[in-house]
Amino acid sequence: MVKRILLVVVLLAVGGFATLLVIPRGRAQVQLTLEPSMTKGAASSTVTIVEFSDYQ
């Protein structure tokens, strides 16, 4: 812990560095299109199961 604090102090003293880490902001929202003929069940359903599938 002490070593870590010392490292930060040294880095702050030396300067000339930049934080390159990107703050995660969560996964981007993806708008799913919906083809009515490719759905089963009521639109008012509590649960929606989206299935991405390959016929082959």
Binding site: Q31, L32, E35, I49
Partner: protein, 130 residues
Amino acid sequence: MKEYDGRVRLVFKDLPLPFHELARPAHEAARCAGEAGTFWPYHDRLFQEQPAFERAELVGYAADLGIDRVSFTRCLDERRFAAAVEADVSQARALGITGTPTFLVNGRQVVGAQPIEAFRSMIDDALKTP
């Protein structure tokens, strides 16, 4: 689906994998069948017949369901639903989905075929969530 009647909706999305060369025409064909009002029977037939998805076979499955052969063939040949299939592929990519089948149960991602009990459990959990 019947036991959850009115409480669960299933949405099918196209994700033809790039190494399945006959998959994309099959997905487009299913949408052509959907336009004729028989998406689900055609969808079931494709899963029964995979990987027999040559053009003549796709047209034959449609004819078996009573879809007009000429209009179905026109739909296939003009690739009427190519962009719609590609839109689904793009949406899958944006979600980080690369394999099939992948399910989203109220947004919760589940990869791979699962036993019915697993779905029942997830659906029951989702139904309990306020």
